[in-house]
Symmetry: C2
Subunit: 341 residues, 2 copies
């Protein structure tokens, strides 16, 4: 049966174990005939190189860690993970996932135990606020650390981020330029964990402040509790306002999409009655024709993984820290103030 080791293959093929090894990992050092024979025997005996042994010998682990806020099931995390996977897998790496590095308890446990120490060849930190002390702890594992949408690049060997603040500044400015007078930003509290949330809110605030001299606008940030029902909370808050706004600027599509769909049931229809822009260009944004700011976390994951491979191989990055810009995707939930019903 099929638990042959390298010695059995060597014996059956009439060669040494060195040759078997080479037939798999350094084919060019073995004659074509010998190689053919070894591989045939190996296949017959269900033999394959045992990567754990290779790992031991080489000191590499062929694993990388990915740390994230919350669950992998969120759109951003899934896309980023898929992007990293798409380049790390072909390169022979598995991804060891650490979800929910969010609560104080989880963080403390992770950063003091450092279970990944000596067990991964690189670490990806996806979109969460990590404090300087934690970065310092991470550095103790002595492997490349790559940040994706981290608030700072301090302590990271490489980072790739979108400029959330600028992106949201652009979105808000777009609504202002359309002539809107009363702009609301429903904002779920970030609890200091998701760095993007804070940066986006700041971008909105900055755009409004900058416009205050030139435009006659009335703007406000509507804080709603964090949680799974944040969109419903925002809905309630909006419906409870003295006067319904003429524009809504959303921190993410997952806020904007439910609002568009549910506000309609209360007689508020976009773009007839109000303009709205989202952020992310996540699923169904196109279906409902939501104007939004697009970011591409899959591409960011790929870029981050390529940086990691370069660093793992001991090379230097030409461009370790990259900042991308979100792009406005004009669809049809926004019209000039003057054209509204």
């Amino acid at each position: 049966m099929g638990k042959a080791d390298i010695y059995q293959v060597a014996k059956e093929a009439g060669v040494s174990i060195s040759t078997v090894s080479r037939a798999f990992t350094r084919p060019e050092l073995v004659s074509a005939k010998t190689r053919r024979k070894v591989l045939d025997v190996a296949d017959k005996l269900d033999f394959n190189i045992f990567r754990s042994a290779t790992a031991l010998k080489s000191g590499q682990t062929y694993r990388v860690a990915m740390l994230m806020n919350e669950e992998i099931t969120s759109w951003f995390n899934t896309q980023t993970f898929a992007g990293i996977e798409s380049v790390m897998h072909p390169a022979g790496y598995d991804i060891s996932l650490f979800q929910h590095i969010d609560t104080a308890a989880n963080r403390h446990e992770f950063f003091t135990d450092l279970p990944i120490r000596r067990n991964v060849d690189a670490v990806f930190v996806a979109s969460f606020a990590i404090d300087p002390h934690e970065v310092e702890q991470l550095q103790r594992i002595h492997v490349p650390i790559i940040g994706i949408n981290t608030p700072s690049s301090e302590g990271f060997d490489a980072t790739i981020s979108i400029d959330d603040e600028k992106g949201m500044y652009t979105a808000a400015q777009h609504l202002i330029n359309l002539g809107h007078k009363h702009i609301v930003y429903p904002c779920s509290e970030a609890a200091g964990l998701d760095s993007s949330i804070d940066a986006r809110a700041q971008g909105f605030i900055n755009a409004c402040k900058d416009a205050e001299g030139k435009h006659d606008i009335n703007w406000e940030v509507l804080s709603v509790p964090r949680g799974t029902a944040f969109a419903d909370s925002a809905l309630s808050a909006l419906l409870a306002m003295d006067e319904f706004p003429d524009a809504i600027c959303c921190q993410m599509d997952m806020m904007a999409i439910p609002l568009v769909l549910k506000l309609e049931r209360y007689g508020h229809r976009t773009p007839r009655d109000y303009s709205i822009v989202g952020f992310d260009d996540s699923p169904y944004a196109d279906t409902i024709n939501l104007t939004t700011m697009r970011q591409d976390p899959y591409a960011m994951g790929r870029a981050a993984a390529n940086k990691a491979l370069t660093l793992i191989s001991g090379k230097t990055l030409y461009d370790p820290h990259e900042v991308l810009e979100a792009q406005l995707v004009p669809r049809s939930t926004d019209i000039p103030f003057g054209e509204m019903a």
Copy 2:
């Protein structure tokens, strides 16, 4: 620095490497004082057990493979992956992902090379039609094989599935019981890859055939091309019909949700003008109040992973093959035929 090995830790702590090893993996065999000392030294030297060595010694790999159709970014795949991860990670396993085991070329490559042979402790096969020959190939790696929504349990050590056919039978029957007369099932072609698609279509057909004697119904399957725009294709096909149906039965929410949203732009509003039910209870189904058949792939992933752990540990499963039923989630896209406008 910071690359201390077990010998340095032993030396610094004044013990043998056996004791260092035990301090980490068999704490109960070491005196509390010695253990404390060893762990302190280890922390100071940034030492940790090197899992690749453990793996070599034990013959385990602490990796499992997950094979899937298409990308991990689909709702079903993400949920299933997250479920598996939620039990495998705490148990010390990483998941090695193999996406796109769908095209003939990819399948052939995977099943003949069998890159996972000897390199994983278990294999999960998520929701795709795998033929008997392929299962046979998989068995050559001599580890437990666990299927999730596979069309057959033949050759698998364990399986967990929902009864797609019965679920869709229920959905169709529900529409029939509401008195609908003209029921359409928009169906993207499955190309023999996604086993659920075929089973669901069959469930719809069976329900309609069974009802033909008792009810005066007119039903049809509307085949639309596979691809990213399958919902738009279905939309076109529906709008091109001589007479718009009074009920639509969808293979998945990702078909139903765009239809509900876009048909409205053409004057067809649910439930006023037609009833519609989806399948999956995936994101935004609740937001638009879609009546649908719920399945829980996260829970299936967890169950599959628990089965895997049992099998890996050499135990026998009491109940290797489980079939779950999708549950009708009544919301408000369906009303009795008689109450329609």
